[in-house]
Subunit: 163 residues, 2 copies
Amino acid sequence: MAKLKKIFTNILRLLALAATVVAIVFMVTSHDSAQVLNLTFTVKYSNTPVFKYFVIAEAIAGGYIVISILLSFKSLFWRLLVILDMVTTVLLTSSISAALAIAQVGKKGNTHAGWLPVCEQVPDFCDQVTIALIAGLAAAIIYFVLLLCSLYVVLSPIFVVTP
Amino acid sequence: MAKLKKIFTNILRLLALAATVVAIVFMVTSHDSAQVLNLTFTVKYSNTPVFKYFVIAEAIAGGYIVISILLSFKSLFWRLLVILDMVTTVLLTSSISAALAIAQVGKKGNTHAGWLPVCEQVPDFCDQVTIALIAGLAAAIIYFVLLLCSLYVVLSPIFVVTP
C-alpha cells in the first residue's frame, strides 16, 4: 500500500515537473513582432516583469520537485517532503495567479485604465504564453491534489495518534 | 503545551482575519476621479476584474478563518483544520499574487505593451489599494507561517508514528 502510494505520488510529481518544464520552455521562447506606423516592435516574455517572475518561480518549483522525487526514495525524509510539497504548491499558485492576471489584461485590456488588449497585434506571442499558462495551471492543480493526498496520508488515523 | 499551541495558532488566525477584513474594506472603498480633457473619470476597484477576484478570494478566506477558529475548539476536527488551513493559504496566496501583478502595472506601466502607469492620475485610489495589498500580503504570510506550524505539530515525532 505504501509502495503504491509512493508510485502514485511520484507519477504526479513527474507530471507536474513535465508541466513546469513545458511552461518555462513555452514562456521563454515566446516572441512576436508587430508593425505600428512602419516601425517594428518585438515582444518577448522578459518585457513583462510578472512573466519573468513566472519563469523564475516555475524553475524553483521544478527544482523542488526534482529534490522531492529524490527524497521520496529515502523514507527518513517524509516529513521534509510534506513541507517541500507545501512550499512548491504555494510557489506554483503564486506564479500562475500573477501570470494569469497579466494575461487577462493582455487579452481583454482595461478600458478604465486605458490599457488596450495586445493579443490582436501579437497573436503568436499570445498563443505561446497561453500554452505556458495552461501548463503552469496544470502544474499548480497537480501539486494541490498531491499535497491533499500527502496530508490525507499524514493525517490518516491509521498512522497518527490524535494530538 | 497543546493549549498554548491552540492559543498561539488562534491569535495568528485572528490576526489574519483582521488583515483580510482590512484588505476587503480598503479595496472596496477605494475610489478616485481624474480629469482628462475636461472629462471626469471615476476609478474604482470593480473596474479591474483581478481586484474583484481579490475581494472575493479574501472574503472566502476570511470565512474559512472564522470556521477554523470555531472548529479549533473541538479537538475532533483537527484534521479538517489542517486541510482548511492549507486551502486558505492557497486562496490568500493566489489573490495577493494576482492583485500585486496588476498593481505593478498600475504603478510602473508597461511601455512595451503601451500600458501607461495610472497612479499619478489617481493617487488616492492607489494609496488605498496599496494598504489593501499590504493587508492581503500580511494575511498570506501569517497563514503560511500558521500552516508551517500546523504541519510541524502534525509531523512532529512526539505525536505521530512514521508511516
